[in-house]
Amino acid sequence: MNERSILTQTLFQEKKDIAWAIIGGFVAGIGGVSLFAASGYMISQTVFSPPLYTLIILTSLVKILGLIRAASRYSERMYSHRATFSLLSRIRSTFFVKLVPLSPGLFNKKRSGDLLARFVGDVESLQHYFLRVAYPPIVLIMVFLATVLFVSFYSIWMALIFIVGMLITTFLIPSLILLGQRRNRGRVRLQRAQLSTEAAELLYGFRDLKVYGQLKTKEMELKQASTKLVDDQYMAARHLLRGQTLHVLLSFLVVWSVLLLGSFLINNGSLAGVFLAMLVMAALTVFDEAGAMAVLPVYKQDSEHAAQRLEETLHSGNRIPTVQKHRKLDDNLPVAIDISGVSFHYGDDTRPVLGDINLHIPAGSKTAIVGSSGSGKTTLFELLLGLYVPMSGQIRLNHLSTEELDEGSIWRAANVVLQHNHFFRGTVRDNLLIDASGYTDEQLTSVLESAELLNKSLDDLLDERGENWSDGERQRLALARSMLRGGRVWLLDEPTSSLDSVTEHRIMQRLLASASRDTVIIISHRLAGLEDWDQIVVLDQGKLVEVGSFVELMERKGYLYEMRKIEQQMIHVDR
C-alpha cells in the first residue's frame, strides 16, 4: 500500500502527541462508561434505603469520574488535533518541495487549479485519517473490551449481546454505507478538483474569455461543476448520515435487548435486579462512544484516496529525480559552452525538438540565435540551464558536462530573461530582490533606470503575474532583474520583443557594455543590429543550419541571407 506510506510516515513524527491522545481517549472512554454505570447503580441502590454515607461516597465517585472524563477528553482532543494539524502543514511543505523538480514541464501534465485542490482540500481531508482512523479504534477497542469484561462478571449472555452489537457496528454498518458509496468513491474529491481547475482557468484566461464573449459559457460550465459537486457532497453526506442513524438505531436495540435479557434473567433469578439500570446505562454509553467505528471505514477509504492523489502527483514528472550532483560551476569565470551531438524531445512526444546540434561558444563571446518559430531555440536554452537532460550528446559548460553539474550552480552563474517572465504579487523591490541579494535602494533605482523604467518606483505594486503592467514594462523589469544577478553567462530569450526600437537600443547598449567580458547568448527575432555579434547561429526545425559571423553568413547567401532579404522587404518597403 503505497498511498498509506505518506500517512504512516508522517504519523510517526508526532508519536508522542498521539500516545497522549490514546491515553486521554482511553481514560475518557472508561470514565464515561463508569460514570453512567455508577449513577445507574446508585439510583437502584436507593431502593434498599442504604445508609446515607454510601450514597455520598457513590455520588462523589460519580463526580470524580465526571471530572476525569471531561479533563481527559479535553487533553485527548488537544493532543490529537495539535498533532494532526502539524502533520498537515508538514505534508503541505513536502508536497511543494517535491513539485519543484517537476518544473518546467509540470503544467504539461497538471493543471494549476487541480494542484491547488490537492494542496488545500486533499491535504485538509487527510485530517480525518489522523483524527478518526489512525488512533481512535485503539481507544475504542480498549474501552469496549474493558466494558465487556466488566459486564461478563454479571452475565456472559449480556456480554455476548455487547459483542454482537459491536461486530455489527464495526463490520456490517460500514459495509452497508460503503455499498452505496463504492460507485462514487472519491467522486466528491474529483468534482472538487474539477471546479477548482475550471475556476482557476477562468481567472487566468479572463481577458480572452471576455473578449471572445465566452464568459457566459464558462459561467455555465462552472455552475454545472458546482452543482455536480454539491450533489455528490449531498450523496456522500446522506450515506454518512444513514450509517450514523443505523448505528444509533443499533445502540438503542442493544439497550432494548439488554433490557429484555435483563428482565428475563432477573425473573430467572440469575441476575440481581439492582444491576439492571447499571447495565442499561453502560450499554447506552459504550455504544454512544462506538459511533466512530461505524463511519471509520468511510473516512479511511476517503483519506487513502486523498493520499493516493497526492502521491500520484509527485510521481508523474517526466523527469527522474536526479542523483546529487557535486560538480559546481565557478561563477567568477565567463562560461565557455560546448554542445556536441545534442538531440532532444519532450516526454512522450517522439518528434525531435533538437537533432544533432554541434556548437562551440567561446567564453566571453556574443552569440545570437535566430530561427523560425518552433525551431528549438528556447529548448536549447532549457538544455543549457540543465532544466532538461539531452537524450543524446553532451553539453559542457567550462568543460563540465551538465549531467554532472549541480543545476543550482548553473542557475547562479546565469542571468536569464525568459520569454515569459513570472512576477510575484508584491512591490517592484521584492521582485528585483527575488534572489535576496543585498542591494541598496540606490542600486536598485539605478538598475531601473538602466532598464528605462524611469516612471516606476521601488514601492510600486505588481499584481499577480504582473498583470497590471504592460508587456514592455514586464520585459524591462525582467531585464533589470537579470542585470542584478551578476552571473557570467547571459541567456536572453527575445528579451526586447515587446519594446519599441528606441528603448530596445538604449537598454541593449547598456546591457552589452556591462556584459563586455561575459558570455552573452541572445535569441533574437530581429536580424537588424546583429552585424557586430561574434557569432550568429541559425536554427531551423531543430537543426543547426548555419553558424558564422554576420558578414560570413551574408556572403554565403544561405538561410540568413534569405531571411535578411525578407526583413529588408518588410522594413524598407518605403525606400
Binding site: 449531498y234 442513524t245 523560425s372
Partner: protein, 587 residues
C-alpha cells in the same frame, strides 16, 4: 450587525418550508425521547422493583421498540433536511460567487490572488455547510425538545425541573461569550487559508523563475510559514471549541450531580418519591443537557461558518463595489448583425488612471472611420495598451467615453460589441483542451470542421497542426502540449479568422516572432482586415507605414496624429523612432 449574517439568513429565509419541517421533526423527536425514557424507567421499575414477569411487560417492550424506531427515523429526518438545506444554500452561494467572477471588470478580475479566490469559492463555501447541516438543525432541536423535556420533568418532579431551569441559562450565556470570539478567529483562519492558497498557486506559476533565481528554499519557507499560520489559526478555533466543551461538561455534570443528590435525598430521607420517577428524571436530565451541549458545539461550528461566510461576503462585496453596472440588459439587435460595415469609433475626453497618481491616460479626441487602419505608436510605457484596452471596452475610463456608431460603449451591450470585434493580445491565453476547442473559442456560433481548418490555414497554423500526431485533437494549454510564443499568437489569429470581426485590435501583433512567421502573419492580418477597421499597437515600420492614421503617444498623452509623412515632418520623436528602426535595433 445585520450584515454579519446577511448571506446566511438570506439563504434561510429562502427555505422557510424546510425550517418548518425541521421544527415539526424536532417536536416529534422530543415526544419520542420523553416516551423512550418513560418506557425505560417503567420497565426497569416493573422488573426490578415490582418483580413483574417478562410476559406482562411484553407490551411495554414492544411499544419501546416502536418508539426507538420512530425516534431514529425522526432524527434521520432532521439530519437529512439539514443536509438538503446545506446543499441548496451552498449551491446558491457558489452560483452567486461564480456569477460575480464573470461579471467582474477586467481590473478587478486580474487583481488579487487567483489561488485565494479559488479557495473562497471552494473551501470557504464548503465551510458554510455546517451552518446549515449542523447549526440550524441543532438550533431547531434546542428550541423545542428541551422545553418538552422540561415539561415532562416538571410534571413528574417539579424540584428537579427547577434545578434544570436554573442551570440551563448558563449554557447559552457561555456559548455566546465563546461564539463571538470564534467568529473572529474563524475569519482569521480563512484569511490565512486564502493567503496560503494564493501564495501556493503564485509560486507554482513562477516555479521556474524561483528555481533560476535560487529562491525555492525561501519560497518553501514562506509556504511553510503560511501553512503553519493556518494551523495556528485552526488550532486557535479548536482550542476555544474544546475549552467550550470542557466548560459545558462541567456545568452539565454539576447540574446532573445536583439533580441526582436531590433525587437521592427525596428517595431516602424524605421517602417522598418512587423509584420509577427518580429513574425517569435521571434519564431525562442527561438528554436535556446533552441537547444543550450539542447545541453549544453546533453553535461553535455555526460561528466558524459565519466567519467563512464573512469571507464570501467580502468576495461578493468587492465585486458589488466595482461591478455595479449589470443593471440594464438591453440588447441592440442591429449592432450584433454580422458582416455589416465596420462601425465608426469616436473617443471623447478620455481620462484614466490606475489610482496611483503616477500615470494618467488622457486622450482628448480621436475619430476612427469605418475600415480605417490605425497604428498606435510610442515608447514603451506610453499607455498604448491601456488606451487599446479602453477602446476595446475592457477597461472603463474614469471620465470621458468611447462611442461606437454614436453609442457609448458600455457593459450593457458589450456582448454584442465583443461579437463583432477581435482583440489579439500579446499573450493570448491557451485554455486546457484541444487545439480545435481553442480555435473555436473565437466565436459563439456553431462552426464546421472545415471552417476551423480554414481559419487555421489562414493563420498559418495548419502545417504545424497537420504535423501533430493527433492533429486538431492535440491537447494544449495546462495539462497538454506547450506552445511556443509564435504558435500562441497564430492560434489567437485563427480565433479571429473564425470570428470574422468588423473591428480588429492587435497588440504588437508581429513582435516576438521570427521573420517567416511574421510574414505569414502580416499577410493573414491584411487578409483579415480587408473589410474591417484595424487598430494596431505597432512597432514595426512596415505596419506603421501601412496605416491610414498614426496615433503617437507619450507618457499617457496622445501627442499627435496623422499620416506617416505628416508626422515625419512635424514630430521629431516620431522621426527619431523611425530612424532607429531603419538603422536596425541594437548595435
Amino acid at each position: 450587525m445585520k450584515r454579519r449574517t446577511g448571506l446566511l439568513s438570506q439563504q434561510l429565509a429562502m427555505q422557510r418550508r424546510k425550517l418548518l419541517l425541521l421544527g415539526a421533526f424536532a417536536v416529534g423527536l422530543g415526544i419520542m425521547i420523553v416516551s423512550q425514557a418513560t418506557l425505560l424507567a417503567t420497565i426497569v421499575n416493573e422488573v426490578f422493583v415490582q418483580g413483574t414477569s417478562l410476559l406482562s411487560i411484553a407490551a411495554l417492550l414492544g411499544t419501546m421498540l416502536a418508539v426507538i424506531i420512530a425516534r431514529t427515523v425522526l432524527s434521520y429526518g432532521i439530519g437529512r433536511t439539514g443536509i438538503m438545506l446545506a446543499a441548496i444554500s451552498k449551491s446558491n452561494i457558489r452560483d452567486a460567487l461564480i456569477r460575480n467572477m464573470t461579471k467582474n471588470p477586467l481590473l478587478t478580475a486580474l487583481g488579487g490572488q487567483t489561488g485565494g479566490k479559488v479557495s473562497v469559492l471552494l473551501d470557504a463555501v464548503d465551510e458554510i455547510d455546517s451552518y446549515f447541516s449542523q447549526y440550524v438543525p441543532r438550533l431547531m432541536e434546542a428550541a423545542f425538545i428541551p422545553l418538552l423535556l422540561l415539561i415532562a420533568v416538571f410534571f413528574e418532579h417539579p424540584a428537579s425541573g427547577f434545578i434544570m431551569l436554573a442551570s440551563a441559562p448558563f449554557i447559552p450565556i457561555f456559548m455566546i461569550l465563546v461564539g463571538l470570539q470564534t467568529q473572529k478567529k474563524s475569519e482569521e483562519k480563512y484569511t490565512q487559508l486564502t493567503e496560503f492558497s494564493g501564495t501556493f498557486l503564485d509560486s507554482l506559476q513562477g516555479l521556474l523563475t524561483l528555481k533560476l533565481f535560487g529562491r525555492v528554499n525561501r519560497q518553501q519557507q514562506e509556504i511553510e510559514r503560511s501553512s503553519l499560520g493556518f494551523r495556528d489559526a485552526t488550532m486557535g478555533i479548536l482550542r476555544i471549541a474544546f475549552t467550550n466543551t470542557l466548560m459545558l461538561e462541567l456545568i452539565v455534570m454539576l447540574s446532573i450531580g445536583l439533580i441526582a443528590l436531590e433525587l437521592a435525598l427525596q428517595l431516602l430521607v424524605f421517602k417522598s418519591m418512587s423509584f420509577d420517577t427518580a429513574f425517569l428524571v435521571l434519564l431525562l436530565a442527561p438528554e436535556f443537557y446533552s441537547l444543550l451541549k450539542n447545541t453549544g458545539t453546533a453553535f461553535h461550528s455555526g460561528r466558524t461558518s459565519m466567519g467563512a461566510a464573512r469571507k464570501v461576503e467580502q468576495a461578493l462585496g468587492d465585486l458589488i463595489e466595482s461591478g455595479h453596472e449589470e443593471t440594464c440588459e438591453e440588447k441592440d439587435s442591429n449592432i450584433s448583425v454580422r458582416h455589416q460595415m465596420p462601425p465608426a469609433i469616436e473617443v471623447n475626453q478620455l481620462r484614466f488612471s490606475f489610482g496611483d497618481n503616477k500615470f494618467e491616460l488622457s486622450v482628448d479626441a480621436v475619430q476612427i472611420r469605418p475600415g480605417e487602419k490605425i497604428s498606435i505608436v510610442g515608447p514603451s510605457g506610453a499607455g498604448k495598451t491601456t488606451f487599446m484596452h479602453i477602446l476595446a471596452g475592457l477597461i472603463r475610463p474614469s471620465t470621458g467615453e468611447v462611442q461606437v456608431n454614436n453609442r457609448v460603449l458600455s457593459p450593457a451591450w458589450e456582448e454584442s460589441w465583443f461579437e463583432q470585434m477581435s482583440y489579439i493580445t500579446q499573450h493570448p491565453y491557451i485554455f486546457a483542451g484541444s487545439l480545435r476547442d481553442n480555435i473555436m473559442m473565437g466565436t459563439r456560433r456553431q462552426v464546421s470542421q472545415a471552417e476551423i481548418e480554414g481559419a487555421a490555414e489562414a493563420a498559418g497554423l495548419s502545417s504545424l497542426i497537420n504535423g501533430l500526431e493527433e492533429g486538431y485533437h492535440t491537447l494544449v494549454g495546462e495539462g497538454g502540449r506547450g506552445l511556443s510564443g509564435g504558435e500562441k499568437q497564430r492560434l489567437a489569429l485563427a480565433r479571429a479568422f473564425l470570428n470574422r470581426p468588423a473591428v480588429i485590435m492587435f497588440d504588437e501583433p508581429t513582435v516576438g516572432l521570427d521573420l517567416y512567421t511574421e510574414r505569414v502573419l502580416q499577410r493573414s492580418i491584411e487578409k483579415l482586415s480587408i473589410d474591417a477597421t484595424l487598430i494596431t499597437v505597432a512597432h514595426r515600420l512596415y505596419t506603421i507605414r501601412q496605416a491610414d492614421c498614426i496615433l503617437f503617444m507619450e507618457k499617457g498623452r496622445l501627442v499627435d496624429s496623422g499620416s506617416h509623412d505628416d508626422l515625419m515632418k512635424r514630430l521629431p520623436q516620431y522621426a527619431e523612432m523611425v530612424d532607429v528602426q531603419r538603422r536596425g535595433g541594437f548595435q
